[in-house]
């Protein structure tokens, strides 16, 4: 899985490319946590527009980041989830706690 990071003032934007499964999940969570710690940020935007496959491991990755950021009084949201990704998230009721935005701009304005 390919991750690209951009810092938008006080928010970390991560653009993910590839397949998110149990195998790639560990690297994804480690690299995101590491980057948040290193830059001292507590706001995260996860961009799923480049994710071509995702199983329930993706739910674990998002909920895990949500819990960590919540402890630091931070927040997070998701953008660019296609229908296939959305279906997996919807099964878990994830969108009740983590908001989904249509665009990165909208996400930056709202978190």
């Amino acid at each position: 899985m390919n991750l690209e990071f951009q810092v938008k003032i006080d928010k970390l934007l991560v653009n993910m490319r590839g397949e998110l499964d149990h195998h790639s999940a560990e690297e994804v969570r480690n690299r995101i946590d590491d980057r948040l710690d290193r830059d001292g940020l507590n706001k995260l935007i996860m961009d799923f527009s480049g994710v071509s496959f995702m199983d329930s491991s993706g739910i674990g990755v998002v909920i895990g980041r949500y819990k960590k950021l919540d402890l630091k009084n931070g927040s997070m949201c998701i953008v660019g989830a296609n229908d296939l990704v959305k279906r997996v998230f919807e099964l878990s009721g994830l969108f009740k706690i983590v908001k989904l935005y249509n665009s990165v701009e909208e996400a930056i304005e709202n978190i």
């Binding site: 149990h22 496959f53 199983d55 491991s57 674990g60 990755v61 997996v88 099964l91």
Partner: protein, 142 residues
């Protein structure tokens, strides 16, 4: 009895999760599935194989076996391991239940399989292994 079938076996390494998805997807492609149907099957395979790797074998090395059968427009898929087995299948199938909260798992594996396939059966024996049997009818017309 069946129109077509296949069997693959691989070592329980997480790198093989994507191999398993692609192998099954390639086999299923003869039914001319829609992209959504194909994604459903790939996601279900991914969940079952991941379960075998993390829970069945607890990340130790073992063999995961997948068999797929096609009869008319119905796919029967079995994913099998010779791992530790599931003590309480009903509990394991409950949404959000995970035996390994330390791993940041969502506990949605069986729920995903149930939702994306037409039927799901789980057979398990303590210290013998687990077999997951899933079926799906493909409605798309060739």
């Amino acid at each position: 009895m069946y129109d077509n079938s296949m069997k693959v076996e691989f070592v329980s390494k997480s790198q093989n999760e994507s191999f398993a998805r692609v192998a099954v997807a390639a086999f299923v492609s003869q039914l001319d599935p829609t992209i959504e149907e194909l994604t459903d099957v790939k996601t279900a395979v991914s969940e079952a194989v991941t379960n075998s790797i993390i829970h069945g074998y607890e990340n130790r090395e073992g063999i995961v076996k997948i068999e797929a059968f096609i009869k008319d427009r119905e796919l029967t898929l079995t994913v099998e391991d010779e791992g530790i087995g599931i003590e309480d299948i009903d509990l394991a199938r409950q949404p959000l239940y995970t035996s390994r909260p330390d791993l940041e798992r969502s506990g949605m594996g069986f729920t995903v399989m149930e939702t994306f396939m037409d039927s799901l059966k789980v057979e398990s024996k303590r210290n013998k292994g687990t077999r997951v049997i899933m079926k799906k009818v493909f409605n798309s017309l060739s």
